[in-house]
Amino acid sequence: MANPLQAQNRRWILTAIPYLWMVIFFLVPFFIVLKISFSNSEIAQPPYSPVFDFLTDGWDESLDKLTSLTTDNYLRLIQDSIYSSSYLSSLWIAGSSTVMMLFIAYPIAYGMARAPKSWRPTLVMMVILPFWTSFLIRVYAWIAILSEEGLLNSALAWLGVIDEPIQILSTNTAVYIGILYSYLPFMVLPLYSNLEKMDDSLIEAAKDLGCTQIGAFWRVTFPLSLPGVIAGCFLVFIPAVGEFVIPDLLGGSDTIMIGKTMWEEFFNNRDWPAASGVAIALLIILMIPIMIFQANEARQQEAGR
């Protein structure tokens, strides 16, 4: 048997691990990016200044470097309309695809939860299955489907629905399709796990008290599934706001999303401080929905369902 001191040490180590993880993989990178966002852009290696070197810098030098930090990058975010319109358009695209996703995913999750018990694992499997192939490959596949000579246009032409190929690829429509396709499981799974554990006798009780099937859905099933709805919406919305691959591959030049703007700052303009500023601002914007999401999760846990 371990002596109490050892046991205490072990417990301490166990609790320290998640914190350590947070510090190494979240806080340290976060502060590096934060610092860069207050730096000046330089044509140099690294492409920003100042660069602190705590080993060789003296006191005065450090102070000089500190005062050379600037808030210019953030001012630019406000002044240059390209940024605000990127943020707005990202929020809009993410928000509207989240709403569309809800309409698509809810019936799917509902159907899965109502299916015979023995089918359910298979159905869940089918929702998760696409995740076994690379995300990038799946998005590329959509290029093949949506392009002018793609599967969709050929099929429509063959059916005689269209004469001319329609332009879907490189439009916002393609971006929506890409997001809806890629994030579907993030909405379906939380909804399913909520609906699946719902007590059937509640629906029966509602019917017994005079509700029709549809009435029982709106008065009982739906309100009780709200935690699942909220969880699913945020799981889709939060990553969709910062999405880069989908607008880059499927969107056109008029598709502006903040992830793309950031990429351009970083790689095309080599303006690391500006890109960092964009990233930090995005994080702050997403903080609000993330906090709502966490509050929702906490409330759910408290209610024990």
């Binding site: 019917k207 017994d208 008290l209």
Partner: protein
């Protein structure tokens, strides 16, 4: 199943004996099969207005299934159910004049107590004022006035059960179905609630159909009890008749405690039956009728409280008596049950009311005792 044999009928309420009475619920040849398994097997039953009817039986015998067919959650595989003369086939649950209190209560977790109770009334689109008044009345009835704003998860089990009850009677249905309504309550609260339920039923003039597998509960509350087994009714009778005149060993054994003494019919005439029994080593004489013919196997069933136990041999040691030794005494507070190993094999039980404080029992373990009973204390069963 004749009530006449009970002597003067104590109960005034006995519409099932009145050929002109029209039943409220008519269940005719109803069966329900789940796949190849028959949960309810060809049952017929009449339930009368204002009756308190209990379904009693072991787990899995089909009580809930029968209830669910009444409420409309299961469709009978065969047969018909009508309420107040209206055939319910094809009538969805929300259109039936029936409300159900669920075994699991099924309270809506996202609604407060008052919202739960108001639910059915809102469905009926009653005016707001009336709903408020009715909810208040219900809350008062189940003594939950101060809990109106609470959510179900903030209530105790007993309080939840009362909310479920209030919700199911708020609509004043013709028929209230209660599926093990008191299952989750402790004995004391359970007994209290039983009486509350009875009062309620009287006050509201509703017809109650209650499912239980607690025989005491059924005995105290019900006007009639249907004993079910394997999806069929074994007997449908008022409690006293069920207790005193069970139709089979199964019912006799299911309701209360009973001694079953096997024998062969040696005489059966004009209400007088004699069995020759190896168990007692003598004759068993009984008053009553039986379908058994001479030489047939039959059982004399007699309740322990109707068996006397004595240290002295009876005058006639060949009729209605058995001898043995006491091998256990169960003290249950109000009664003591003596378990007697009979000299001819087998055991019998006799219970004696403890009218005095038992300090030293006159009859003790290992004592040689004689059990006796009167000819009219039991009945002869053939199955």
């Amino acid at each position: 199943m004749s009530a006449k044999a009970l002597g003067p009928v104590r109960r005034k309420f006995a519409p099932w004996n009145d050929p002109s009475a029209v039943p409220l619920i008519k269940i005719r040849d109803v069966s329900k099969a789940f796949g190849s398994f028959t949960a309810v097997n060809n049952v017929s039953l009449d339930i009368y207005e204002r009756e308190f009817f209990a379904l009693l039986g072991p787990s899995g015998c089909g009580k809930t299934t029968l209830m669910r067919m009444l409420a409309g959650f299961e469709t009978p595989s065969a047969g018909s159910i009508s309420i107040a003369g209206e055939d319910l086939a094809g009538t969805p649950p929300h259109k039936r004049p029936v409300n159900m209190m669920f075994q699991s209560y099924a309270l809506f977790p996202h609604m407060s107590v008052e919202k739960n109770i108001a639910f059915g009334l809102e469905m009926d689109k009653l005016p707001k004022g009336e709903i408020t008044a009715r909810v208040e009345e219900m809350l008062k009835l189940v003594k939950l006035e101060t809990f109106a704003k609470r959510k179900p998860h903030q209530l105790s089990g007993g309080q939840r059960q009362r909310v479920a009850l209030a919700r199911s009677i708020a609509k004043r249905p013709k028929v209230l179905l209660l599926d093990e309504p008191l299952g989750a309550l402790d004995k004391k609260l359970r007994e209290e609630t039983q009486f509350e339920l009875l009062d309620l039923q009287m006050a509201l003039g509703m017809t109650f159909v209650i499912v239980t597998h607690d025989q005491d509960e059924a005995m105290t509350m019900a006007d009639r009890i249907a004993v079910m087994n394997h999806g069929q009714f074994v007997q449908i009778s008022p409690p006293a008749e069920l207790y005193e005149q069970p139709v089979s060993k199964y019912v006799a054994d299911f309701i209360g405690d009973i001694n079953l003494l096997e024998g062969r019919v040696t005489k059966n005439e004009r209400g007088h039956i004699v069995l020759g029994s190896e168990v007692t080593g003598g004759r068993i004489e009984s008053l009553g009728e039986t379908v058994a013919g001479l030489g047939d196997k039959a059982w004399f069933a007699v309740r322990p409280e109707k068996v006397s136990i004595d240290l002295q041999p009876p005058n006639d040691p060949t009729v209605n008596t058995a001898s043995g030794t006491v091998w256990d005494i169960g003290y249950v507070g109000d009664i003591s049950v003596y378990h007697v190993k009979l000299d001819n094999g087998g055991t019998m039980r006799a219970s004696i009311a403890n009218t005095r404080r038992v300090v030293e029992r006159p009859i003790s373990w290992e004592d040689k005792v004689f059990l006796t009973w009167a000819p009219d204390s039991g009945i002869v069963l053939t199955k």
